[in-house]
Symmetry: C2
Subunit: 354 residues, 2 copies
């Protein structure tokens, strides 16, 4: 299972999308619960099974879902569940729970419908590049389609009801993963992040809540789901992101003009460590790989390394993927050694021709 | 001048000597002052000139000095004076002063007789590897020869008189430069260094007093010059060094047996940074190069990098040498970039074939 799983999971990375030099990916997710059923956390196994079956029936009834693939979490090993989380297809919450939990995946893995997460349904669309509206449009279509078969818990005063009040209202969370090396290197990033947070947006690392920003990668999403329309939420997020992208682009340009050797040094040192280390943990690898993205923009790697390659690598170096690909044991030291070997094999050919 | 100077200066590195995996070099120096002349720091220019001329006359009178080369410090640029200091042929003290200062160098630069340093004469023998006795024998011969022509300030109670009381007595300072990566990596080095210091030995970095230990390189010398014979000083230093060398050898063996990947990782990461950096300062370069010494012992570089190569590199990456070889300006940033280019050119061929 796990071998095909890790290949399936990375399919949404098939291309890089618009503004991929700064925006790695865009996501939109909706939280929904079935009317008349207890929230998952206070459910009996029978309740959970009923929710599972109802969602499965809705999905199998609709032609647009005909190619979807259901994965039952209880059928997976812990390593396989990690693979799904690492590829951003299920939440850490769903990874931890297995009882009657499932995920329905689109053939290209760009849509996932999680069942019996904190909410009965968490549906997500993920695409590469700066395409928040597209992700939102896609997930709305999924939502509309499911609505034909399922009745969602809804209050005319509050909107959609959710297990955690922070999701109540639209149930919408839109987010992007940004690569901000310019603002990190010029030292502005912390101030900007604080400003963004004060305006009601959450800033997180590569793997959501609780993960610190790793390398130059920042995940930004709306905090507010209540009292605003979905359209307003998307609009205000895009307003912030548009500005942030301009500032990152300016920061890079200034660095390239004023401190070209400083930038080159940072890129090539990262490359040197990635290619020569014999043990490397994920956090360090993410940080170093994220610096290589800047090298692509500077033309250092010609066509031998692309944004797409890097997006894949950021996922492939995660423990679950590594264990599946390299048949390596769970011990941290062995995994760190396998990660270093993997990175060396993949990156050594990007010959240093500058 | 400066081009030939940096080539001349590195000649004493011609071979690597015994135990060169741990002992980079051995030195012995004697401090002497002319009887009846004021110490240099309270001298008039005329006094200094008289000392200079007296020493020059003594040297030109003796056949064993016939191939010696006199360098008058006032004839050199600041960069050229740095070259002499970086190659360990003159002291930082002599580098700072030029008036009537000179150094008489043996053809292979293994003997230098400094004139009008803190003392009228500082004579030094420097050899590669663990050869303290040889350095001591050589410098004693130089001393004996000069004694035929010069009368040194001597008290039957105190011994040789020197400008600073810490050198009075024998005027002998014997020292070795040690490479201790095993004890650095296993964390024992600080405790051992403290013990050694408590027994009356000084521990310094690559460039003498005031320089911190850089990388895994430690310079150890006797503190006491008074109340002991030269033979006793050498004996007690060798006693400490013999033990230290055994401990370093044990530490390396344990690391190689117990944590081979950890050691390999440290070596190859250092290599990766040295080969890929675009700016690098001397201290970092010394630290990284010193790690490569361990790679030689592990057979990582086959015959493409030797202890001799590394000994040269440790000197060549110093600012003065770099400025002479690469015709680079004195600005730190430019020099750091030139150092990175130099290291890349020199090291890139040590292909990673492991």
């Amino acid at each position: 299972m796990s071998e095909s799983l890790h290949i399936l999971c990375d399919r949404w990375l098939g291309n890089t999308g618009p503004q991929s030099d700064i925006v790695v990916s865009s996501r939109a997710r909706l939280a929904r619960n079935l009317a008349g059923a207890r929230f998952a956390r206070s459910s009996t196994p029978e309740d959970l099974k009923r929710v599972h079956d109802a969602v499965a029936a809705a999905i199998s009834a609709e032609p647009i879902f005909s190619e979807f693939h259901e994965i039952v979490l209880a059928d997976l090993s812990a390593a396989e569940r990690s693979i799904l989380r690492e590829a951003h297809l299920i939440s850490p919450e769903l990874e931890r729970h297995t009882k009657h939990c499932a995920v329905h995946l689109a053939p290209d893995a760009s849509i996932s419908v999680m069942v019996n997460e904190e909410d009965h349904i968490r549906m997500q669309a993920i695409v590469t590049g700066y395409r928040v509206r597209e992700a939102h449009r896609v997930i709305n279509e999924v939502d509309d389609t499911l609505t034909r078969h399922l009745q969602f818990a809804f209050s005319s005063r509050l909107g959609y009801l959710t297990a955690c009040p922070t999701n109540t209202g639209t149930g919408l969370r839109a987010s992007v993963m940004l690569h901000l090396p310019g603002l990190v290197m010029n030292g502005d990033v912390e101030k900007i992040i604080r400003e963004i947070a004060e305006h009601g947006f959450a800033v997180r690392g590569l793997y959501g809540e609780g993960s610190n920003c790793t390398g130059d990668l920042y995940q930004i999403s709306n905090e507010v789901t209540l009292g605003k329309s979905e359209e307003e939420i998307i609009e205000s997020l895009l307003g912030v992101l548009d500005q942030l992208i301009v500032r990152e682009r300016d920061a890079r340009q200034s660095l390239f003009n004023e401190k070209p050797v400083f930038v080159e040094d940072a890129i090539w040192r990262s490359y040197g460590t990635l290619v020569q280390a014999r043990m490397i943990n994920s956090a360090e690898a993410i940080g170093l790989l994220s610096r290589l993205r800047l090298g692509i923009e500077r033309g250092h790697f010609h066509d031998r390394l692309t944004h797409h390659d890097l997006n894949r690598l950021l996922i492939e170096i995660q423990p679950g993927h590594l264990m599946a690909m390299r048949k390596v044991a769970e011990e941290t030291e062995l995994r760190d050694a396998a990660r270093a070997d993997f990175l060396r094999e993949r990156l050594i050919d990007i010959a240093n021709s500058n």
